[in-house]
Each structure stands twice: as C-alpha cells, then as structure tokens.
C-alpha cells in the first residue's frame, strides 16, 4: 500500500496553447467537427510512503506543484490522492 497522487497541470485559460490549437485543427480535419477546443497539459504520477497521513500527502503535493510541477505564471494544477 502506498499513497498514489495523480497531478494534472494545464495552461491557464488566458494563456495561448498553440499545441492544443494544432491538435484541434487535426481532429477537425479527421472529421471530429464537434471538437471545439483542445488544451494540452501534463500528467504526473507521484508515489508517497504509506506511513504519511492523507493531510500530509496533500500538503506535500501542494508544495511540489507550487515549487516545481507547475509554473503559477502560466499554469494551474489539480490532483487526486488515493491509497493503492
């Protein structure tokens, strides 16, 4: 058993995402005309020692996202915590 944290980092809505725009154009060309927006982000999985409390895991995950995984100037993040 260990804590399993899934972190999602995406560009803020106000930040242009040329990669997402290119993927959207490709999808539209492939026939998926209903796709009206694409935002490409990053997915990171973290494993924490099982001995920590859930509150500690969340606190550390928050710090990790603020300090390294996301750049608050351009990105926002969210994460989920599970014991597996």
């Amino acid at each position: 058993m260990a804590w399993h944290v899934s972190v999602y980092v995406t560009l803020k809505p106000s930040v242009m995402d040329p990669q997402g725009a290119t993927v959207q154009r490709a999808l539209n060309q492939m026939g998926y005309k209903a796709v009206t927006d694409v935002r490409v982000g990053k997915f990171t999985e973290l494993e924490f020692e099982a001995g920590l409390s859930e509150a500690d895991v969340k606190k550390q995950a928050d710090e990790i996202c603020d300090k390294l995984l996301a750049n608050p100037n351009i990105e926002s993040y969210r994460f989920t915590v599970e014991k597996k």
Partner: protein, 232 residues
C-alpha cells in the same frame, strides 16, 4: 572585468559566452559548474543558453534549483549584474528573478535565424552603449521563446520601463511579421525593476564578429563593460 558563466548539464552556449568575452572582449571568464556555489567574485554573471536538464518539465524549471542559482539570486539581490541568454532567460524567469514566462513558439517550430531588435530602453547597464531605438541584428535559436505575462504584469513592465528589446523589422518597425515566436507585444528581452538583471531570447554571445553574420551583440557586452569599468 570578471565574468562568471554557470554551466548546467545540457548548457550548450556556455562556450559561446566564454569565447566572445575572452577572445573578442578580452575579459576574464570563470566557468562555474552548477553544483558549485562559489561564483568566484564576478562583476557580472552570464547565464548561458542551451537545454539545461534536457528542457524536462519546462525550460529552466529544474536548473533554477541547482545550487549555483541560489548564489546567483544572492548576487542579484545585492545589485550584481546578471544577464540570461535564451535558456538563461528561461531559467531567470523560472527562478523568479524576472517576471513572466517563455511559452512554446506560436508556430510550434524551433526557430534558428537572425532577427532585428529595437532597443526600447538605453537606461540599463546592458544597453547603455546603444542609441534610443537602435536596431540590432542578433540571432535567435529556440523552440520556447514566446514571452507571456498577464495583464497586470505587462502594465508593471511598462510603468517601470522594463521592456528592453523588442522584435522589429530591419527599419525598426514593430510588425507582426517581425515577431518570430508570438511573444506578447514583440517582447524579446526584459529587465527587473532594479535594472541589474536582464534576460533576452536572442544571442549576443553568437553575434560578436562579422564572420558570424553580425557584430551587434557587442553593443550588449560594451554596455556592461562601460557600466562597470567606464570604457566603451
């Protein structure tokens, strides 16, 4: 004058900086491995271009936590001159020494070409040898040079006259066509409020001699020398 160049795993313009400073400008240069914390008492720190840590996660995101960067931040806080070129600019933004961030180029391509820059501010230690609105021909080589800052941040940059160079055409006009990477308002380089930290995407380290296509990068180096030792 004494320059120090931090070297990260993946830096690849560290020797361009060393060469132009030592061989073209005849100055002394110390190369500082990123795990060292002693900057060797420099007058100016040059954070070089390249692909520190393979650009993993975000450009400059991991390099900013290298031990040497704490020393660079302390040096800057005391008023020391710091210039970051290309990946060096990205590292300074990630480290919070400069505001904003560098995003993926608008056209998603790595762009390697000569561009023109208009000197927007000559009242900095890095551009005081330039005339107002002087056009400099300097090359770029990057995939993530698309400068972004939020509306509040942009207002502060303008209020404090921190936008130092902008992409322009050969005549100094700011046009959408002369903006190679989609940077907000053609911004190519900015300084901090105290004007002792400067970051730019173009490479003055690769434009110190005509054989390289331009010697205009020397205006940046001459400015620094003029600031510190009073010769131009």
């Amino acid at each position: 004058m004494r320059f120090s160049v931090p070297v990260f795993p993946g830096s690849n313009c560290d020797h361009d900086c060393e060469y132009v400073l030592r061989n073209v400008e005849n100055q002394s240069v110390e190369m500082i491995w990123h795990k060292d914390t002693d900057l060797k008492n420099p007058d100016c720190v040059v954070v070089p271009g390249g692909f520190s840590y393979g650009d993993y996660l975000r450009t400059g995101a991991i390099a900013r936590f290298s031990p040497v960067m704490k020393s660079v931040a302390d040096f800057a806080a005391k008023g020391g001159l710091v210039i970051g070129i290309c990946n060096g600019f990205q590292i300074l933004c990630e480290a919070g020494l400069l505001p904003g961030a560098l995003l993926r180029n608008k056209n998603l391509k790595f762009i390697c070409q000569s561009v023109y820059l208009r000197t927007e501010e000559t009242n900095t230690p890095f551009t005081n040898a330039c005339k107002p609105h002087q056009v400099l021909k300097i090359p770029i080589a990057h995939g993530e040079g698309n400068y972004f800052i939020d509306a509040d941040g942009l207002k502060k940059l303008k209020d404090n006259h921190q936008i130092v160079v902008r992409y322009c055409d050969s005549e100094g006009k700011l046009t959408p066509e002369s903006n190679p990477n989609g940077s907000l308002e053609n911004i190519a380089g900015i300084c901090n409020v105290n004007r002792n930290v400067f970051g730019l995407m173009p490479h003055p380290d690769r434009s110190g001699e005509d054989i390289l296509g331009s010697h205009d990068g020397n205006y940046i180096w001459k400015s620094i020398l003029w600031t510190k030792v009073g010769v131009q």
